[in-house]
Symmetry: C2
Subunit: 697 residues, 2 copies
């Protein structure tokens, strides 16, 4: 159905206006840029606008005109009725430009809900409300009130902010960047990013997908779709409201519920999305993708006519994790043949200040042929002799036909402007700084990995679902929301090894339990009122015989009563003491946008002070679980390098997968943590020592 | 003397040329832009160039012409002789533009050394060789072959790369940025950054100092001068060759010995220098400083006509460590008075898409008056109704007279160009992205702290210098370069507490030593051949009585002989066992540019895997030592938060100061490490447990 949204034969403008400066006039004028389009203005007060026959109401339009798309610009309170009329008139696509909906308060939110119901009722596809409209350069449609029309190009852009659409179009106009489709998402009441991702995926004129998002409407579905789309087309997304301060601004701006940034980072990574940190980065990267082939590795050659710029660029490459290429001997020889003796024949190649277009071309040809070079960054500074347009012309032609990516930085202002314009006229970006060129090259390299990364589906982990469900349901029915040690059985249902652990209500029971499981043991207080056991003397380690258990029991009861006289004490827990392991934490927090967000980290100070943890949205694949474990900075501590004992990493990965399954199976679990999970040396597995989780009320 | 370099009455061009495109002609033409200057071309082959009387040799110039400055453009091999002639002609200032010196190889380096000797002999101040020349806009001097003349302004710029001078001048020409002085440093054979820093410090037309450096000539002096200069004028420096890859490029480029990046970071911080990560940042920051007053705090108000941009800017503020201002109630009320009801009256203030110049002005006036606002970032997107030039005009006038800094981001391309040009015509920057504006605001905030940070001089720490000197000298004379445990006495000379430690050559001696110092003790093998004692069974902990010592001694000797049969064993070291402390490391490495670089970190994995360490160039002040300790990420572990025992931080600081003194007193010490320094709980001090240092050969 969306085909007619973007390539309609006939478009109605409901709220069309004769008055210059009004949105209802701007939309009409933009639509009229396309001479082949049948345009139907709707306005009850006039018969004609800009030479077009005007109808009082959409329902008055004769059947023969068959309106494919209605653009609505009437005040918010009139929009629901207008949509109803569109539905009755059989119109399948509407764009609601009008503002005054969810973003404006309670009444507006009600209008918005009414629109959604009506769209459902009539099966209408709706963009907006509160948007700038859409542009499709292949069909020649400009159904927006944007002041600038987009040039044709292969970048599809969608934005949750109309103003950012405006900024982007204005920027693109100045330097000649083209778009295939340009969509202002507005409040995303009906159609949202997931719909357009699928549209862009199939759109033959789209090669690159760029987006500005403040949130996503359906997180899990977004990940699923993006995982597929990102393997055929690069997706570059700016997600704003990264920080707590920023998030506050989001909610006052569009009422979007911004997910935590950790969740977005994890979800984007899992979905193969390239996250841009700013609008500038998004545009920079998009332009690189729109022109360049992908580099098959991270070895970059730099060609410069200024040593200093070469060094700065090498610095930037290093910081971005790109390597400076090591040339084949033949490359160095071929460079030496034509470049002056004072030139530098190794990377960065310095063609010297008086180099002309021919020397640049020679150097570029030679390094492109080197098998150790995956991409090239060309730097041009305006030296006295530098033929800026000549070099730009040669570069533009190379770039268009090169099988390896080439990015340029003509550095300067007045004198390099001619080179910049020339490149732009070929649709080729000039990056205003080496750092921007390097950042974009890095994005190309990263996308190569994303595209060639084999994707698996999460595998279902075995579990005793019947037991687990009855456990959760009985807890819910008894309103037991917070769970600890006493609920370790839920782990057993997922075959997660649990420390041998017994509950005792009296001292004799405690001694009996210890004797049965074998020494040494650990004793912990059991009380629904106590969450930090150590603080109240509620833990005793390393008890080696019955005497120890007795002494520990008596003193623990006395300590706990001293610190928390009112606590209900249900007994003690005796656990087999495990030594020789390392403590790790596996946790889950339910993110409002993406659902179960898994966390992994080393126990103790590493998590608390260094925040050295990794995240992924569940359900995770084996590769994702493995990456969670290996991507923390303290990974060497468990991997067993430099004299550290290698821990059983595989058992951590297995446990992560099982926890992933558990929290996916039971959305009733709001938060979950195994802390610590004691990981034993390689081959000896791991054991959950304690657990805390919370169920929804 | 440098006054006549930058404001000469008469300038000779040695190697002046008639031929268009030649450097000798370009320099002449640039000089001739100043009609008041007496210009004397020197060329043996012609009588006149461009209407100026030409002399065959500088020594032929009549005394009456009194040349203040000679610009030399003859080939490198002729330069030494030319300088000799300048000296004999009594010329005090020369600029050597010619290349072909140190940067070109062995022969060039010889020419350069000859020039240096001659300059010393005649007392000549020389800039270069291998440079673009200099520009002084106050005196109207352009003694360079640059294609662009600088506009007048208050930024002084020096650059070690001529090409980066060219890039910067070209950039400045396009957007109208002015400079007071512009210096191409070249090879820095005689005059270098330290000389010009002092010049800029006193120069009344300079308010901001910008520099591109690939290295510094005299590191300790650079720190000393910059510490003083940076308190009166902001210094923004790009130091390239940050990374190992980059450093390689530096050495092939100018032969500069690049110091390690950690040393530069530490030195710049101690010197009050703002380090820019790129040329773009350097220029961005310089422009902000050239126009803006300093913010007295880090609370920033954002004014925008586009919600999305406001969020992105708030994100960027948060990332940079700036706060979004909390307005006074009166501010919100005053905003509410004039802004439309749908506007946002809290920070970020959204004046809405149709806001005109008056609304922007109102919002700006109101937030500027709020005591909680230290600086303002104004965002303007080109919405349909937006009066770009009108808003730019209002902003420019406010910015010029504001007592708080205001930075702008007109976001877009075609339509905002008019605003950008208008701002530029007032000398006011438009930042092309919110992130760049925020980065510059952050630099202003940081400089406010630098300027108001009270600076102390390092205090001399007490020491037994006589003992220490004789210790070092006897070690040097005996060619003992590597020192360990056996040399702990050097610490005692600086009053650094050392663990009670005795050497024993036989088992009876070992038992005697343990009995004398009291149990428990630790035993370590003593051998010049063994550096990793643990690996060969050369350490025994927790020996509690004579029997333990005996058993340990026998088994250790057997183990060590087994692992290293050929090692010379000189005995064992017995140390009092210390428990209840935390291990930290204090180290020193001698940096080629800045000298003794101190390092501090927590022991073990924190240093090894997390590289959680801090650096400072010795000698350090108390405040610097304190900052070294508190700036590591794991500081909470020793500061005693969240249940951790507070360690004796003061004793760490004292030890850092003493090590700083030791390595400053003895440049003979190349590397030095106390590892571990055992830090006891607060009030109980610290104890050096082991030591390693290396003396120069």
């Amino acid at each position: 159905m969306l085909e007619k949204m973007f390539d309609p034969d006939s478009v109605a403008v409901i709220g069309a206006s004769r008055t210059k400066g009004k949105v209802g006039r701007a939309v009409l004028e933009n639509l009229m840029q396309n001479g082949k389009l049948r345009i139907v203005p709707i306005n009850p007060n006039v018969d004609e606008i800009l030479g077009l026959r005007c109808y009082p109401n959409i329902m008055d339009v004769p059947d023969g005109l068959k309106v494919d798309l209605a653009v609505i610009v009437v005040p918010a309170q009139m929009v629901p009725n207008t949509i109803d009329e569109c539905g009755r008139a059989g119109i399948g696509n509407v764009i609601v430009i009008s503002a005054g909906f969810k973003e404006a308060g309670i009444e507006g939110a009600r209008f918005e809900r009414e629109c959604i119901s009506l769209c459902e009722k009539y099966g209408i596809a709706m963009i907006g409300p509160n948007c700038l409209g859409i542009i499709d350069t292949s069909s020649g449609l400009n159904a927006s009130f944007a002041a600038n029309m987009a040039y044709e190009g292969n970048i599809a852009m969608m934005s949750q902010s109309g103003a950012i659409c405006t900024v982007t179009l204005d920027w693109a106009e100045r330097i000649g960047v083209g778009f295939s489709k340009f969509i202002s998402l507005g409040n995303k009441a009906v159609l949202a990013e997931n719909d357009f991702l699928q549209l862009f995926e199939k759109d033959p004129s789209t090669a690159v997908i760029a987006a500005y998002l403040e949130g996503v409407k359906d997180g899990p579905e977004f990940i699923r779709i993006a995982q597929r789309v990102s393997r055929s087309k690069p997706m570059i997304v700016v997600k704003s409201g990264r920080t707590s301060v920023g998030s506050r601004a989001v909610s006052s701006h569009t009422g979007t519920l911004a997910g935590s940034d950790a969740a977005y980072n994890a979800a984007f990574k899992q979905a193969g999305i390239i996250r841009a940190d700013s609008l500038e980065e998004m545009l920079d990267y998009s332009r690189a993708f729109s022109v360049c082939p992908l580099p098959e590795g991270r070895n970059i050659a730099i060609i410069t006519n200024a040593g200093g710029l070469g060094i700065l660029t090498a610095d930037a490459c290093y910081n971005a994790g790109l390597s400076i290429a090591s040339f084949e001997e033949a490359t160095v020889e071929r460079l030496r043949e034509k470049l002056p003796p004072a030139a530098n024949f190794y990377d960065p190649v310095d063609v010297l200040g008086d180099a002309g277009a021919d020397l640049y071309e020679h150097a570029l040809d030679v390094v492109l042929e080197d098998i150790n070079v995956n991409g090239v960054i060309v730097l041009v500074s305006p030296q006295a002799m530098t033929d800026i347009p000549g070099i730009a012309e040669k570069l533009a032609k190379k770039i268009q036909h090169s099988k390896k990516p080439i990015l340029c930085n003509f550095a300067g202002g007045s004198r390099i402007a001619a080179g910049e314009e020339l490149l732009n006229s070929y649709g080729i970006p000039n990056y205003s700084s080496a750092e921007r060129a390097v950042g974009s090259m890095n994005a190309l390299c990263n996308y190569y990995s994303i595209k060639h990364h084999s994707h698996e589906e999460p595998e279902r982990q075995d579990s005793d679902l019947v037991f687990a469900r009855s456990f959760i349901e009985s807890a819910l029915s008894e309103k037991r929301r917070t769970h600890g040690l006493e609920s370790m059985d839920i782990l057993k249902a997922y075959d997660i090894p649990v420390v041998d652990s017994r509950i005792a209500k009296t001292l004799p029971e405690a001694i009996q339990a210890a004797e049965n499981m074998g020494y040494p043991v650990v004793m912990k207080i059991l009380s629904p009122d106590i969450s930090h056991k150590t603080d109240v003397g509620g833990i005793r380690l390393n008890l080696e015989h019955a005497d120890d258990v007795e002494r520990a029991y008596i003193s623990m009861m006395s300590d706990v009563r001293h610190y928390m006289p009112d606590a209900v004490i249900t007994g003690v827990q005796l656990q087999k003491m495990i030594s020789g392991g390392k403590e790790v934490i596996i946790g889950m927090d339910r993110d409002p946008q993406f659902g179960p967000l898994l966390m992994f980290g080393l126990g103790g100070t590493y998590v608390e002070f260094l925040k050295d943890v990794s995240f992924a949205v569940a359900p995770v694949t084996g590769a994702e679980a493995k990456h969670m474990v290996s991507s923390i900075k303290t990974y060497p501590l468990i991997a067993g390098v430099r004299g550290e004992v290698a821990s059983d990493i595989d058992s951590i990965i297995r446990t992560l997968l099982k926890v992933s399954q558990l929290v996916t199976d039971f959305p009733e679990i709001l938060e979950f943590e195994i802390n610590p999970l004691m990981v034993l040396p390689e081959g000896q597995g791991c054991v959950a020592m304690d657990i805390r989780f919370t169920l929804k009320s």
